[in-house]
Assembly symmetry: D2
Homo-oligomer: 434 residues x 4
């Protein structure tokens, strides 16, 4: 799953200082983009789309990037025939071919820098009263779908960086990749991005998430405590039989599932931190008088380290396979989501903090911030790290109204230009743009 | 559930001989009804309705009965506020107020005789080729609903009996009740009929079912081996919690259900015959990362005797209640269907066989026929038996194409008049009509 | 397990009539043995030994048989290296090499006839008051062991037959085998007898059991309804670990067993008759703070037919193996007992009834007697049947005080000579002794 | 359980400085006791006794204390009729009435100071080669029992303190209690000590444990991370029945236990630290063909805080009670051991460190030492703390050969006088002895 990353590259230096003049220029230009950023963000907020279904969202992004003169890869060309984790159980046409990547190669030897933002919304119905987007007329127009995690802001930031950087790329060294990743919710899309090879040449990777408890005016570079997780769907197929007349002819998929669940729960006891198992959904059987032929359940495993999660996953999958055998039912396990443990490395933290000091924007820089949740960017960061590149996931402080993933969620739009400024500056540093 | 039956009545003689002349007259008149019976049957076959939803079916039956001059009780007056077992999970308006009863009191002292037919169809899509109803143009016009058990024929027979008997009731003794019962499938409707008190004064009860492996030209009076069953829906409500951050805050309804299922299965071992337990449907949980708050499952219990089933039911319900307590989840159990064990008594068999010999219709009379399934009429027969009345459930032989409850089901329409003749003759005998 | 039986032999006629004079002589001589039979029975009653441990019992039997001039095979020569089912968990020296077989070949061509009695006692403490053996001074002298099933009587009958037949064997045709089988309780010993080949040449097999609800003066030839069963010990071996410090290092054999038990119970639902599963004993773990490394349980399966039992056994063993795999524990299953379904064939019943009429002893002969329990003789009878021989298991009526397998059990000793007479007469008939 | 502690006392100052002269005198006298301490320790090492069975051990302790002139409470007077946790399943006479307390009241107003040592050994067979106690001739003389945790040393230290302090008690203020606690292993005895009221007037409590990874020459005052635990035995009583003939008559205690175990395991998932559940022992059933009437299992729960453990205990006990109800079996839960979470308070650490500096014995004083296991002294310390007194549990450094609870365990006897010196000095300080 998303594992194959090319051979280790010779290490390319990426942590380069930023010129003070350039820093000042970036600040000025980023601030000037703010009205445009707000417009963009509100556009995407009005038109939220669920993960793997971001068709219109992607079309607009591609349009903006193309106008700016980037080479853009999208549609079936973007993720090809890589596996898509966690597609809908009844997919719609076009599902799974969303998201895009913009590329610009300076033609001069240097690092490949990849910036990533995520673009999907959530199955939440937006609040209609006492809620700024509703009052200001940019609330979701799609019933039951809402940008309640801030990815609308992320898209705006990503496009802002694209716009700000474009003229600067006449100079500098190396190659820029701007990744607009689909299906972050459920930690699904990054797996396909890695499998499609987009991380194979990346020397520096940076992703950004706004909010998450960090207030406006702060930024967290020393981020750690991303929780590793795996999400599976498990399908069991037995044999139906009349429960009264010939129960022994049946192979009971419902019963098999019922024995798996406590067996799985019992695997959660561990001296490793954060080990969790949850069977969150179970559906089995069709009629009260038939031995159930089919069962389907969804399983999530978590741990604070990739090693602990790998061990747990092996035990869970073995238990499922053998218990299916015990009950004489067929089984299939489908990976539907995964995220890795992650900790931004010290050299990334030090470098990013240095660039930030040049900009002078954030009064408060956090160097020990536990993320405490999963993030699909960990899969991208982990892939870059495995090939010898550098990676960091930054939390951009933003005052919130309502919590993430609630109908009342909203964020301080003033941080949009700050995000543009920061990512642009990091890129300019790494690519030696002056 | 449908239990309350009035105090034991003094026994009223019901097993009276039939006059030969009357027998001959009934035969002649019944045969003459055959074209009308076929038309009626085909009408109901074209317009099948599921149990508790037989609105149009009931309307037509009421229309026929009223025209014949019967007092008819229908709509909300028929079953009042008695519990309705196994209503749809999302009921439609009018659901549950179907079926009716036609009454005629001779005004002369004598037995109350109740004849019952059932009127509902099944959620089966009718075959379209190589199938007489399709070829002859009277196949179901309702997608996914079909009279594939023969209840369309039962309605026709019931109306035929109503028509044949009506003029004869100028004579005779006692009272006649013609019951058109809703929701037989799932063994649901009879429970409400009993609860509404319709059996409280019945001295003789007869029901009829066509087909069931008995060929045209045969009739079974000595029927036994009706299986007792109970069907329950079980609802569990716990407390949702984030499965990663605070699993101990959750009260896991899915896990509770998973422990109940093997516990229930283990109760099926018994020296009593035919004891069975099946959990045929289970649905729980909403999201993979949430401790599941809700679970719902459907449970069926069976046994060959009412006693064994009663004991089993007590143990199952106790296990569910206590295991819910063990997992700190709320529970509710909803009875959705029930049928009783039953064996036609010897005096009924002897009497009916005698009447039948007067008619001379059936070359073959079966006196030891195991039914081997559940029938909602057992609930009615059992209620009549408990008050001291007499009851019998008759299988009317009919050659079949395709088995009951299949898309190819069809039956020999020629038996319709035979059913009318038989039920009319039994009634005439019991009510001393000459 | 005890399966290999030689190739089918050409059928040898065994159901021959008995000469009236011989019948009379057998009656007279059997009656004369009664005081000796009572002495013998009381001797064995005083000195009961558990199955596979009948060392002194066997020695005494061998002594008697040898004095009568039979060739006797005993000790290690009797069962060789065949598997012994259900040995004690801590066997004592000599355990498993008990029982014997006496052989006499007439040298003249004819059938091989095998009579079988069983010789083991039960782990029951005999009653000391209000109990004939105690009052008459022949109660068990071994604490906690008692002949409370009547096998002491069976031994006496077997030796009586040996004594009565010995001089008659100067005449007749064929070969006689008198089998004194060990370890009938727990249905264990017959398996080894078959495996050792003792049934490979048997044309007629007869076994006898006294009591079992049949009163003195009756005999049952038409016996059926022997229940097939298998008994297994299951051993699970996981890995111990400190339950507080490193639970994930453990592989929990106790938990594995706990999931197997309800899984096994759920396999008992069947349309086949008499299907049962019981886990009767479970022992697991050593200390409250250690993940349990070991578990051991004992499992019994039953059914009314060998086929149903075979299917059940396959499912149970598969469930155990796969659930062990699911919990990552090693498993071993050890067969500890088995019995087969059996029904005495009609020709045996007819022939034995005819011989019995010659004797005139039993006023009442039962031809439809359900046994309703397991008997180790079914394994012997089944083996003889599979090779084309004839077999029957006879219940010798005997009034009882107390039930079988209780401390108060005692039987009417007067039936001893009747048993001798019957078995001798059947043998004399089959071997054409005059 | 050991809960009732008297009303809060007005706080009595206990953390008083020690006079330098007194400190010097204590050092000198403690060193002089070393040969006597070694003799005592070796005596107890030769004669180890398991918890609640320390009969000879207690007799010797009482003898020593009485000779020194202390009032000693022992035998039935010591713990009265308080519950004794974790008695043997087949107790021997005298079991449960071991341990003692020596008391001396100065008659002058001041604090009540209680020092506690523990006196029981473990069910371990001592090593016989390459092991100092074996080579030097003082190995255990009791097969299968060994002082492999160092409690023999604790007794010697306790008696040394008694001897050293006795003459000093002519001066000073308040009251001294020297507690020789039985049954520390399994965290059992302290519960009875509290229930008997011995902690009700204690103003300062100190306990000591040697070894535990702290080397000779070090002492740990800042000790924390004691794990809270509860240990229960659970007894289930159902109803036996013949598993073949009437399984529905049985109430299966084995099956009930088998469903409880995974249910209990599933309660271990928690965001609280160190939550663990283990069913370490399970025994059920008597015979393979009987529905098991009895089951017994042992359960341990752990957590890092008393609150988390209390919540867990409530859920476990509720699950057991309700699942017993579900399976219609009686249940009884017997608390067999308990320990509390604990952290030595800062003022105790500061004061003890100060006294230690006066003595100058230990080059290394640890102020942040996680204990990482359970200790019965936490129950005593907790009781003192609840009434407003001060308490501390000290780890006395001692080089070890072999780990605690192994056959090779041995410790550096040179630390004995150091322990005497330290406890004497703390007491002298608190009681203002000069």
């Amino acid at each position: 799953m998303g594992e194959p990353v090319g051979p280790l590259a010779p290490e390319v230096p990426v942590f380069r200082e930023l010129d003070a003049t350039t820093a000042a220029r970036i600040s000025t230009e980023a601030k000037a983009l703010q009205p445009w950023l707000v417009d963009l963000r509100r556009h995407f907020h009005r038109h939220p789309e669920l993960g793997w279904r971001e068709v219109a969202t992607t079309a607009r992004i591609v349009e903006e990037l193309s106008q700016l003169g980037y080479e853009v890869v999208s549609g079936k060309d973007f993720l090809g025939d890589t596996p898509r984790l966690g597609l809908s159980r009844e997919p719609i046409p076009g599902e799974g071919d969303t998201g895009c990547i913009a590329i610009h190669d300076t033609g001069r030897p240097g690092p490949t820098v990849c910036l990533r933002v995520d673009i999907d919304a959530l199955p939440i119905t937006e609040a209609t009263t006492g809620h700024v987007p509703a009052d200001a007329g940019y609330a979701s127009t799609v019933d039951g779908v809402m940008h309640s995690c801030g990815h609308d802001g992320h898209i705006a930031i990503g496009l802002g960086v694209a716009r700000l950087l474009r003229p600067m790329l006449a100079g500098g060294f190396g190659k820029l990749k701007l990744l607009f990743q689909p299906a972050e919710e459920g930690v699904r899309g990054a797996n396909s991005v890695v499998a499609a090879g987009w991380m194979d040449d990346v020397d520096l990777f940076a992703a950004i998430h706004l909010g998450l408890g960090v207030p406006s005016g702060s930024v967290a570079f020393g981020v750690h405590g991303f929780l590793a997780s795996r999400k599976y769907a498990v399908l069991l197929t037995g044999r139906a039989a009349h429960a009264g007349k010939a129960p022994e002819e049946g192979r009971n998929a419902l019963l098999a599932a019922c024995q798996m669940v406590p067996g799985l729960h019992a695997l959660a006891q561990s001296s490793a931190r954060g080990v969790r198992i949850n069977v969150g959904v179970l559906e089995a059987g069709k009629a009260v008088n038939i031995v159930p032929e089919k069962a389907r359940f969804e399983l999530e495993m978590r741990a604070e380290t990739n090693d602990a999660l790998d061990r747990l996953e092996r035990r869970c999958l073995r238990l499922i396979a053998s218990m299916a055998e015990a009950h004489e039912v067929e089984h299939a396990t489908v990976l539907r989501g995964r995220s890795g443990a992650w900790r931004n490395p010290n050299d990334f933290v030090a470098w990013a903090s240095g660039i930030d000091r040049m900009l002078g924007t954030f009064p408060s820089v956090l160097t020990d911030h536990p993320f405490g949740a999963g993030e699909d960017a960990t899969t991208l960061a982990g892939a870059v790290d495995r090939r010898g590149g550098k990676a960091g996931i930054i939390v951009l402080g933003a005052d919130l109204v309502g919590d993430h993933h609630t109908p009342e969620f909203d964020f301080d739009e003033n941080v949009l230009w700050q995000g543009v400024q920061l990512l642009t500056a990091l890129t300019a540093g790494a690519m030696e743009i002056v």
